[in-house]
Symmetry: D2
Subunit: 419 residues, 4 copies
């Protein structure tokens, strides 16, 4: 007669080979047959497999089995007493790495923390790579612990450090990165950064490293995802600065041209302009006509408006400084002042939105690794999180929302010039 | 021979009867035949109609014709010289009213401003109703001007004033409101407020007042729309307060129970808890087990955590104060402090998100009126603005996002108790 | 027998001739003898004087008698019933003007409000001069009311508007200003502004206009007063920006050179550097040695510090941009980024300190006018408010606190080079 | 012939016996006569003393000799070559401890940092005592390093932790504390905290521990010093909250009673009321008449004021809740809401003022220890830092500034009721 022993209830991590389709679950339960019952999926078939020396293995599509409570039904053939036990392996079964790259963005720490804590739930080990790809190329890693993750959610910047490292875009650099990951025993990589950083992630994915990207850049120029981590904070920071500038602009009855970040993407400038109630906005996506703007400015001056705020994107075809000079060259109109907000926009405690977005995307990135679907970027599309192939992300381009642009013009009292 | 006179290019507002299907365009162009050509819709048929004393009228589905540039081709039969002209009517053609109702929410001013300015583009007149439905019942209106709209976008609260007025939910009250609107010549109404206020909007819509609702409440309990105006600001305000409380909690090694607003909706509390990295959250949607929470608290204390933050929703089944007392009754664990954030969460300059949301929804509400589709609430669904029947909104209920709840538990290191 | 009628308790303003030594109190109390009893000065002699047609007058040194409650004991000789009454004169007795001049500073509104409300307590009339001396030269005035003063205390900038108007420093301009004041019937002037504006105030005082100055400039370069209105807010604004910059500096391991305002006064930069824990500070008052700084920077880099923040005053001998370029020209050290904070520092809701300082100084300015001591600036010296002759203020120079400088160096780990 | 060797220029810490009047300077310079020349005090006599095994000692009043550059003139009698050298002792010569006690206050970290870094300049060792007097009684100490001091200046709360520990006010507790300090070899103590904590400091000083107090409490109830660390931050935090509350109060036309901290000291409430432009203030120092306040409230309501804000101190004779209930019991006047700001006021990044004050007082405390003047509290009096005997501080009481109170009433339009 067979004797059955039910090892129940204890939390028990299951190892999933990240790269392949074969899930190997090691049950240190003696040499006889064993079956795993996952009570969370009570209706499904039990997971059973063949006995292995030192474990239990069965074929299964890779998937997120980790972190659930399992009961292990251990059957010993014949009359012997079941002596084995479901041992919790001392070490973690999977080791992944996390890095932040490119320009820092508030909320990156939330993504690091969520990815790390989600990994810990699976008993995985997480290595942080200092200073982005630069640290990776130099083979630097440091183990992230629960204590490292304490008190970082509300902090700006990235606790891992970051850098712009063009070398990873070379073949030589990629081989070097791959080698460093192998040496460290890293089986999966989470890359948190902007467009350039995600291109690096794609390169590593192509070399076989299971890699998941998380969009984080205050420029909001990563395609497919509605928002990148850091945008909301930068937007509010810039907005607060413009609110301040309006105070002094009104006191002196001046025009102020304010340059905000965004590289070649006008999102930040447009959103700022709309939220600040600016009188005009200069965007890379819309080649502005200086005469139109000067006309609007002159007309505002005549109507007695107390100020004229122009928000200009970094990459605007008509640069902030140039327009500022145009205004000051004109007569009988507002005097202009120029402010370049610069790096102030990068820092600061992340807003609720960026902490939530960072937390959701960081956790989702880890889940994508665990479910064996790397080579993607996790992003937000409406209410939902979605996965987009890194290939598409690298090739895509983010477009401006023209409705928002029209709304900004309408609310500023400027009607768009057609045709 | 007929002579033709083309009045071209000038911006010319077109009157649309809001309630009906008949668009009446008054062209002060003499008594003979006239045709309007809308160059923005070059491919469509010209709008022509029959001559009326003092105008031109034709049948047409009501729609947003307003605010476009029109050329008026005026044909005079016979050899007479066309003497008429397309006169811009001195007054506005349509008069709408805007009110804010229920609890105030940051961003309401952005919605008022956007609705008003969008109306001005159509040359409509906008009346503000002071103090919500109370002002309506008392027949108080004041004209909103471009100047009234200056410098309000960044201000908290509502410049119109608001009130909770249960009388509008009675038949008598509704009749009174309807009469006041008629007396004032109001043809359309924008109601900015929360669930109760939108029920009032539905009542007026049923009585035949073209009414569009805009969801604004920091509780985020309005169904269908992802977010209501004011939620993001309240969330960030509460978050900032909890960040502060964490400082003192860590300094004293204490537990702090923080009650945030949200009535019967746990959204605000859940989002706060996640964004603040709280150790536990009490929600109306999840009946919590005090013993579980006390266990988690005791275990955190033993592990040496510097604080234990509990975010509690107003309407939680286990009230904030009760749990706070439980903790202080327990031994060898954190001492607890209680904070009820209260009205602080309502005020403050709206965040970028709420200014944008307010602006977008306010403009959309006006557009819905202009397009002859009242009886709806405008809301945000993912990236897009959508229209939802007020009937459905009044009957619906907002549900908690369970994924977010699970994420909060995971990141707090607490695993959800199943079954 | 004489009959006595006591008119008691009503608040009753007393007119004080601002310029002269004769206080004239008009009691509309009939023709017989009258005596005023000021219950606030119960121990002093009653104020009595001779009856005048339409009033009561007596000689007295000009002083602040206004705003107290008086009982008027009205004695009618013989048996007649006292028929007169103490009539409150309908109009105000004194008309003063308030202007803000030069660069705007947060807290100016608090000063305007306090001066105005303190005047109202005396039943004086207050005219606001729009756009500083420019408005004065153009003879523009607008009456300030209690309603105008509502909701301005927390607003940045100045509700009166301001301008830099060099013309007032010419004799012609001063005569023009004097004439405008006379035409408007203004008997006293409060000038709120910085050093240049106070020079203008001195010029008007010399021409005989009772003028009191209030120091308001974010540069803190007005001598004698410890602090000027606006400094604390600008300091906190700049500090918050530097806190943000530190986040990104640490993430990238960079040096950041941050230029703050202050013209030729290093106060703002020094206080910022100390409060932000900056690694170095460039001041107009201390000619820095670039090599020393580069050495400190290199040594910090070697010791592994995560960032190197340099705060530079606008007027520093070694300009921010120059030092920034030096750093980037050096090898094997931090990469540098430059931020010029600019006008952001001017605006924003004033801090508690600036609202209190503005309120105290504004009220004190009015009191100085009322007490017949014009030609002075009110300022803060330690805990107390003091009065400083405008003559001295115009001639003086504000010095840097060397102890604070030493402390900044000590806490930054840099020891001052001696000799 | 004697040979002289001048060891010049190197920075060299000098040990000062904190408790006594004998300064012992150990010069590891061989066995012969030596003299120290302090070039910073060129005019004074050289410091010379007798040779000791392993050092050099001389009598001198204790004073701040530390941290100066000294030249050591080392004379060897006879023809021998001077072989000794001025060795920098590897370890620090003096060990002091720092603790924070009582309620935490923003800026405490700045004081810890400044005291510690000022000690490091002298090569002293600094121990931090965790959790205030509680940690002291338990004999817990941890060494503070330069790294521990990095990135703490801008953080709220106290990195050392704090507690309210009544046991130190008992004789038994004091003996225990003294013993712990002796065991740890601590020769001086800096106590950062409020009134109660400074009483503890006095007790230890009386037992012979060189102790210096630093006033830090948001209540501003420590006498002699104008301001305590944390007050300015708490004030701005409370002010910001009241600004927010005003938004919602105006929107609903309500009265709001807001209770702020301050225990039995009305400073915080008064300053808040003045800075927020509140309509009334309830203070422990002024027994308010509810009828007067209700009258003012009713009159404001009639005059159409949009809100009525009452700021109440914690310890007010007429408690916030009671007045709130009075208002709601009254008819035809504002509806009231109550907010108790609570612990939110304690936390948050310190303002510039509190960082500067903390830094100045922390450094001054260390200097007082070094100069052999313990038993005092360092405080700020006007522009200057001063020292006040702990004895006086413990016996004193902080008084309200009546001028500020009058100003608040004047600006709120309420005149003070006399006698």
């Amino acid at each position: 007669m067979d004797k059955t022993c039910l090892f129940g209830g204890t939390y028990w991590p299951i190892r999933i080979g990240l790269g392949g389709s074969r899930a190997v679950c090691r049950v240190f339960a003696g040499r006889s047959r064993a079956a795993l019952v996952n009570p969370d999926q009570a209706n499904g078939p039990p997971w059973s497999g063949r006995s292995l020396p030192g474990g239990l293995a069965w074929d299964r599509n890779a998937g997120d089995l980790g972190g659930c409570r399992v009961s292990c039904r251990h059957v010993v053939r014949g009359g012997a007493t079941p002596r084995g036990r479901v041992a919790r392996r001392p070490g973690p079964y999977v080791r992944v790495a996390v890095l932040t790259s490119g320009g820092d963005a508030p909320g990156m720490n939330g993504a690091i923390r969520a990815a790390t804590r989600t990994a810990f739930v699976r008993d995985w080990e997480v290595l942080g790579v200092p200073d982005g790809y630069r640290g990776l190329l130099e083979g630097r890693f440091r183990r992230l612990t629960d204590r490292t993750m304490g008190g970082i959610l509300h902090r700006g910047g990235t606790i891992l450090g970051t850098a712009r490292e063009p070398q990873l875009l070379t073949e030589e650099g990629q081989r070097q990165g791959l080698a460093a990951l192998k040496r460290a025993g890293v089986e999966g990589l989470v890359v948190i950064g902007g467009g350039g950083s995600l291109k690096g992630a794609l390169a590593l994915a192509k070399l076989g490293v299971p890699t998941v990207g998380v969009p984080a850049t205050i420029d909001n120029d990563v395609p497919f995802t509605d928002m990148s981590i850091g945008v909301d904070t930068a937007l509010n920071t810039a907005l607060e600065a413009i609110d301040r500038i309006k105070d002094t602009a009104s006191s002196h009855r001046r025009a102020h041209v304010v340059e905000v970040m965004g590289r070649n993407c006008g999102y930040l400038a447009l959103a700022c302009a709309l939220a600040a109630g600016a009188e005009a906005v200069l965007l890379p996506e819309h080649e502005p006509h200086p005469e139109d703007l000067l006309g609007a400015l002159a007309s505002s001056y005549e109507r007695g408006k107390p100020h004229f705020i122009v928000v200009a994107a970094e990459g605007s075809g008509l640069p902030a400084r140039k327009f500022h000079e145009y205004v000051n060259a004109a007569e009988d109109t507002f005097e202009s002042r120029l402010t370049i907000l610069g790096h102030v926009q990068r820092g600061g405690s992340p807003t609720a939105y960026d902490r939530l977005l960072g937390s959701r995307l960081g956790a989702a990135a880890l889940r994508a690794l665990a479910e064996g679907e790397p080579g993607i970027m996790v992003g937000v599309s409406g209410r939902r999180l979605e996965r987009f192939p890194l290939e598409d992300v690298a090739a895509g381009k983010k477009h401006l929302d023209e409705d928002t642009y029209d709304l900004a013009l309408t609310l500023a009292g400027m009607h768009r010039r057609r045709g």
